[in-house]
């Protein structure tokens, strides 16, 4: 078996490449940890309960019943108790949901009690953030289950319109559940929640890979050395790469964003399309810089390729792309914050699902610009250090 000599040669070569050995050992552990937490964490929806007037009497029953619902957590809201004006309460509920204090709010007003005792069905209001269909389902399902308990606790209300046929039966009228969507609508599909994060992922993934490999090729075939002995600084090489990739990346970004917007079940305004393209291009620049840096730090194409899972996979797991980041331990949530895709996803979802304006995404723009500048600085510094070592 001559093949064994080929195998032996590969082992001998890899043994000397410590980075590759570390890659084989550490990367599976890291990926398995991420998969474990991603699969372990159940999605939980946070629900706030607001009751006013006589309806407060049923707080305890309602909350007890809701708490029995799996994956539903009752959370306090930052809404003052003395706020009684219905319009002001509704405004406060919208604000609480917009700020992310909860994914849903159950609002039970005094009118409900009045209606029930007058023999009417009465309205129970539920406000849902609406952008995440799975959480909507948990909230609405939990409330539906608790409504019977609540109706029982409120006493038996006989249907006034009941005919003689049912006169002897107890007919508890169900309450009317009024659903209010802060963002989106009942027709929202699960895929609509995932589509906005597709452009940051695809753009990051492709730009990172291509820039990392192309720059590495420049080094391996010796043209980088030729550029370094020409009358140009390392910064000119980096700027040249940004300029060269920018053209194709703009094209790619327009295609990806256009395709995703076409797949959405709702239209997006032209103004928002501009903001979305801006965010996507910013993400492309971050990916480009990270790709160039990875390439600069790698000694060969093999090592450059190893950066791909190292950089891409944590972002897939920890950027709130598919799995809810709240279900991960604090350390991984901390790591999530330093991943550019986390911020790009937040901005993209905000712009597409919540009609967020470009200026409202300033924290994400600031962070991504920071990523770009810091990576650029590290790359320039590493390049200059490299050049200084040579001179």
């Amino acid at each position: 078996m001559i093949a064994r000599w080929v195998a032996l040669r590969i082992i001998q070569e890899m043994r000397r490449d410590r980075r590759t050995v570390a890659f084989f050992v550490l990367v599976p552990i890291a990926i398995m940890t991420l998969i474990y937490y991603a699969m372990l964490g159940d999605e939980t929806a946070r629900l706030g309960v607001v009751t006013r007037g006589l309806a407060r009497m049923y707080d305890a029953t309602l909350i007890r019943s809701l708490e029995e619902t799996e994956d539903l957590v009752i959370v306090p809201l930052d809404i003052p108790d003395d706020l009684t004006d219905p319009a002001a309460i509704e405004q406060a509920i919208h604000k609480a949901l917009g700020e992310g204090q909860a994914e849903g709010v159950l609002y039970m007003d005094e009118q409900l009690i009045v209606d029930r005792f007058a023999g009417r069905r009465g309205n129970l209001h539920v406000y849902v953030q609406g952008e995440r269909p799975t959480l909507n389902a948990i909230i609405l399902g939990g409330i539906a289950e608790s409504m019977d308990d609540l109706a029982n606790d409120m006493g038996v209300v006989i249907d006034a319109s009941c005919s003689a046929f049912c006169a002897n039966s107890v007919n508890i009228k169900p309450m009317e559940l009024k659903k209010h969507y802060v963002y989106g609508s009942e027709d929202y599909r699960s895929v609509d929640y995932f589509l906005p994060v597709i452009p940051p992922f695809i753009i990051f993934f492709l730009t990172f890979i291509i820039s990392a490999i192309t720059f590495q090729r420049e080094r391996v075939r010796g043209t980088l050395d030729r550029l370094m002995v020409a009358p140009m600084g390392f910064s000119q090489v980096v700027l040249g790469y940004i300029g060269g990739f920018f053209f194709f990346s703009v094209l790619q970004t327009v295609i990806v964003v256009g395709y995703v917007l076409a797949l959405l079940s709702f239209p997006v305004s032209w103004g928002q399309i501009g903001a979305i393209l801006f965010m996507a291009l910013l993400m492309m620049l971050v990916a480009l810089m990270m790709g160039l840096l990875a390439s600069f730090l790698a000694h060969n194409e093999f090592q450059a390729v190893q950066f791909i899972p190292l950089v891409i996979l944590p972002q897939v797991f920890l950027s709130d792309m598919i799995w809810d980041i709240r279900s991960f331990p604090a350390v991984l949530r901390g790591i999530s914050w330093v991943l550019p895709m986390t911020h790009a996803n937040q901005a993209m979802r905000g712009m597409i699902l919540r009609d967020m304006r470009l200026w409202e995404a300033w924290p994400q723009i600031l962070i991504l610009t920071g990523f770009f500048l810091v990576t650029l600085f590290i790359l320039m510094y590493a390049g200059r250090l490299h050049a200084r070592r040579r001179s």
């Binding site: 075939r221 010796g222 043209t223 050395d225 030729r226 550029l227 370094m228 002995v229 020409a230 009358p231 140009m232 050049a387 070592r389 040579r390 001179s391």
Partner: protein
């Protein structure tokens, strides 16, 4: 033109260059000769500023800083590897290197025509580099190193992998370049071909064995061939040829 003064380069325990001193005069082809591993490419990388010396100094065109932009502008470098963009044509590669050296477009076009004619590649100027033969790639490399008309041309093993007929032509072209006013530092392990240099240095294990005009060295060692002179110099001064 170039002064190398007691340059040593150490890679861990390996001494690639050992207190090497040499001077390259203006308007000549100066040969750096030695077998593979003699330290020729290391010295070239130090001269171009791609590697720092462990000790010693390099003075190139009057400057001790090889990364000085003004110095770089006057130096042409042809590395040993096929350091070209394989997806571009010959003309596109030459134009790219001309541009990064700040040569005006019209001047590039004019020089390119002259140089393509010199290295007999005019008919292939629009061919993509990855479709070229090894010899054509070496000629294209030379073109890209010449386009900014450097005062000092550094050629690291320009004839490696080139057939004997083309090797002879290479030396003819280098002679023409000297006539045009360039000074050339060339390394080769095909020692015999360096007989056309004005002066050569025999290098072995990072040390200078001999220095002088090829004919003079051949006479000194009673050899008909420069390679034979090198072998004799090696055995006389220690080391295994």
């Amino acid at each position: 033109m170039l002064q190398v003064d007691r340059v040593t380069k150490q890679f861990g325990k390996l001494k690639a260059l050992d207190e090497l001193t040499l001077a390259v005069p203006e308007g000549q082809i100066f040969g750096l000769l030695g077998p593979n591993g003699a330290g020729k490419s290391t010295l070239i990388r130090i001269i171009t500023g791609l590697l720092p010396p462990t000790s010693g100094t390099i003075t190139l065109l009057g400057s001790k800083d090889p990364t000085d932009m003004e110095i770089r502008r006057q130096v042409g470098y042809m590395p040993q590897d096929a350091a070209l963009y394989p997806g571009l044509t010959i003309a596109e590669n030459v134009r790219f290197f001309g541009r990064i050296y700040g040569v005006p477009e019209t001047v590039i076009s004019q020089r390119m025509e002259e140089d393509l004619e010199l290295v007999e590649l005019t008919h292939r100027k629009d061919s993509v580099v990855e479709t070229l033969s090894g010899g054509m790639v070496r000629r294209t490399m030379l073109l890209t190193a010449l386009i900014h008309r450097p005062r000092f041309l550094i050629l690291d093993e320009p004839t490696v992998g080139v057939d004997p007929e083309l090797r002879l032509k290479f030396w003819d072209w280098l002679a023409q370049l000297v006539q045009r006013g360039s000074s050339i530092l060339i390394t080769t392990h095909h020692i015999s071909e360096a007989v056309r240099c004005a002066k050569v240095v025999f290098l072995r294990e990072g040390k200078r064995l001999e220095e002088g005009p090829p004919r003079e060295l051949m006479a000194r060692y009673g050899s008909q061939d420069l390679e034979e002179a090198f072998v004799k110099a090696t055995s006389r001064k220690g080391g295994t040829p």
